[in-house]
Symmetry: C2
Subunit: 218 residues, 2 copies
């Protein structure tokens, strides 16, 4: 967007995004008005429309950036190794870290798909499918090399993604468990779920807690 | 509600519930108006208010009935045995069957908690906690008897519930897999995740498919 205001414009746009994610997460997309959003950011409603000509443009942009950000994070985190268990561990770690950092944006992305036009919905779903395909490929490789023991890679991929994304529903930083502890526990559950023939400790540099029986120290 | 119309009134109330679940799932609670709902059901808006004095009364009732229905279904499905694996299998089967049958109501129950008053939110969360506690008790018994091998029963219960409820996001009857096949696969994933020392086939009267390698027939 060519704007004479330069970095001020960028700052406003960033403020709009942040306020929009938080308002939509709180009220729902349909209930949020552009007027309300403008007032939250402290600009005139007309200014908003310079960045986002329609409310749906804004929603689409938030969802696209969320998925592109997730894909970019995974591309950066993806290990060079062919080892399926190491790749699965990296996928789990990246997925949980990304979503815990972006709890509101994740809610918006999961809950407001119904408000996108058909064409834009297709674009978002294509990004999701590509991301999920990476997980399915890891699971399939694991089955082929004998590292994993899985009934149905498609179902297992969906189950894992729902299980991991679900962390944002109940997890709050600063409560009983740290992000590292939650991630370690989910990693261990994932490795069991895929029937990994490895010691899951291998992929937890510092496994923060033991079995339930001796977890009194938590 | 004492009403002279008798079963007509009950029919109207049921029609209101059904239309409300479907409208809220489609538009979101904040965006749905009572006027819109009345028009969907084919009654005057004033008639709606006889059943539900406020829009929030309606939402609360939908959510309460959803959780009470889930609890009642589990009470009916809960096996008499003390065996943790058999109880876990029953919990998984009931949870998946209940939610697949009520996809829209589940979306409403999970997405619209933000619109309840504090007091009512507390009531709904209390019902949820009681239901989840049943799962935690099964997991804990399994750890104690040595049937399961679990790091953290609280985390495992949340992971399982998110994983199972997630079925409604992608599952559509009549596609690649039947409800029985999906349930069998989730049951098998659950038993692995909790480190069950049993043949999961024991709890699947007819396990509908084999390992991924020989699943060509699907």
């Amino acid at each position: 967007m060519a704007r004479t205001t330069g970095s001020d414009g960028e700052k406003t746009e960033a403020a709009v995004r942040e306020a929009a994610v938080s308002l939509i997460a709180r009220l729902g997309y349909e209930a949020m008005s552009m007027r309300q959003l403008a007032s939250e950011v402290g600009v005139q409603a007309a200014a908003l429309y310079r960045y986002f000509p329609t409310k749906e443009d804004l929603l689409f942009m938030l969802m696209r950036e969320h998925m592109e950000g997730l894909t970019a994070a995974w591309t950066a985190a993806r290990p060079a190794t062919a080892d399926p268990a190491a790749r699965l561990a990296a996928y789990v770690r990246n997925h949980i870290a990304f979503h815990i950092e972006r709890r509101h944006a994740t809610h918006v992305s999961n809950m407001e798909l119904r408000s996108l036009s058909h064409e834009r919905l297709t674009q978002i779903l294509r990004l999701r499918t590509a991301y999920e395909k990476e997980l399915r490929a890891i699971l399939r490789d694991g089955v082929e090399t004998g590292a994993f023991d899985i009934d149905d890679t498609g179902l297992t991929a969906m189950a894992l993604i729902q299980m991991m994304t679900g962390v944002i529903v109940w997890f709050r930083p600063g409560e009983r468990l740290s992000i590292a502890e939650v991630t370690a526990s989910y990693l261990s559950m994932t490795m069991r779920l895929v029937g990994a023939r490895i010691d899951t400790g291998t992929y937890n540099a510092a496994r923060p807690f033991g079995r339930a029986k001796d977890a009194v120290a938590l």
